[in-house]
Symmetry: C2
Subunit: 223 residues, 2 copies
DNA sequence: GTCGCTTAAGACCTCCGACGTATCACGTCA
DNA sequence: TGACGTGATACGTCGGAGGTCTTAAGCGAC
């Protein structure tokens, strides 16, 4: 195994074992390199790799720190990976989202605060009846993000955030080509919000399923 | 932005845009460094980072290649990230798995082959009535992996693979401390398999839910 | 003609030393 | 007391020198 890979494993080990805790500062490059028995250049490769996936936070002139290791932060790195997926796997991503999002919406129905409900309502009101496709899709992302956040599960929240990325382009495309896709989306958002207000988890779940399934169905018929 | 980060973005761009396709070989380090306008050392940091998340495959003595970019391969990198999560988030991971796994099992009920069913049966038979906890957990992972694979969704499959890792330790712990956890797991596996044989998606979903919920419940009461 | 070994070229691996740049802390001065 | 300047510190970047591994061409024996 290459010395750099060893260094990655050792640093990972230090964090997993608790020797390095979130927020801790690592020894400076030259010292850590000496400790781990490799050159500063090779160590930097290891640190850079761990930095890309948000394990380490490198600040020039200051030092290198362990990040908070929050699920939200770590899974955020997933969206970087997701960007590489080819268009032909969008349907598989959407299928997973179709499983997770209704469940998350149902969970949110039981936990969401009145304040959050009002915020979502205001958001939909602000958008108006005939928004641009770009505005709608941006609002769509924000709407679902807000709901999923209220599910209370940060892993679920981050996961859905990552999965939603690849379908964004598809949704824009749909908005531009399918008749009444905008109006339909707006109506479905209102329905989901109403179900949340009623604390009706099953209705919320069903509307979320319908909402995603309509995109899925359209995409399947188009590809 | 640092030159290394620029290089990461540029290489990513080349892949996403299609200039570099899966399996393609990159120019050699010295050439690519010159093309991108940075030193070979800094370029290596970029390549190493992309290599860690399985975007690039570096082979000493040969060259650097773009991986297949299969969802399975890319999400495999997620398990590396998941390893960093602290024990207090295991419940959140388990909650997500509780959503995905029943759905995957239900999907599998409609698609799984007779051959695969026989393989799963043979696997359970081979384990016997009183396996060691380690064998049981390993078999447990393999059993679920086989079922999820039959769901036909590789993104779902890889995702569950990544999520199952963190709970492995918990399951071993449970097997060692909870009375009849082994017998219960074996019975539930048989029940899931029977539902799959009957092509009964709803029964399969329910048994999978019960199976995971029992772990979740035990874990919640223990923490 | 085929198989197996030797050899050389190509590409990545590791290291070293030097210099550039950003940040923070301390001391100075108004 | 507060703002500013300065130095120490740590990361950022670079060029070059060997080292190691893979591959394939070259060559001889069967």
């Amino acid at each position: 195994m290459a010395v750099t890979d060893e260094a990655i494993e050792k640093i990972k080990g230090m964090i997993v074992s608790g020797a390095l805790r979130p927020g801790d500062r690592l020894p400076k490059e030259s010292e850590l390199a000496a400790d781990l028995g490799l050159s500063r250049n090779s160590l930097r490769e290891a640190v850079r790799a761990l930095s890309l996936i948000r394990i380490l936070d490198v600040r020039q002139g200051d030092g290198t720190y362990v990040t908070s290791l929050d699920p939200q932060l770590l899974l955020e790195a997933m969206s970087f990976v997701v960007d590489f997926h080819r268009d032909d796997t969008v349907l598989e991503f959407l299928a997973v989202r179709r499983i997770l999002e209704p469940a998350a919406t149902a969970m949110a129905a039981l936990r969401i605060s009145e304040q959050q409900l009002d915020a979502l309502t205001a958001q939909l009101d602000k958008l108006g009846d005939a928004p641009s496709v770009e505005d709608l899709v941006a609002c769509d992302l924000e709407f679902h993000r807000g709901i999923v956040h209220s599910s209370g599960n940060s892993v679920l929240c981050s996961l859905l955030d990552g999965l939603s990325g690849p379908t964004t382009r598809a949704r824009i495309w749909r908005g531009l080509t399918q008749e009444d896709a905008v109006g339909r989306t707006l109506r479905e958002h209102r329905a989901i919000l109403a179900a949340l207000r009623d604390r009706d988890a099953e209705a919320a779940r069903s509307w979320a399923t319908v909402h995603i399934a309509s995109v899925e169905q359209w995409l399947r018929s188009t590809l």
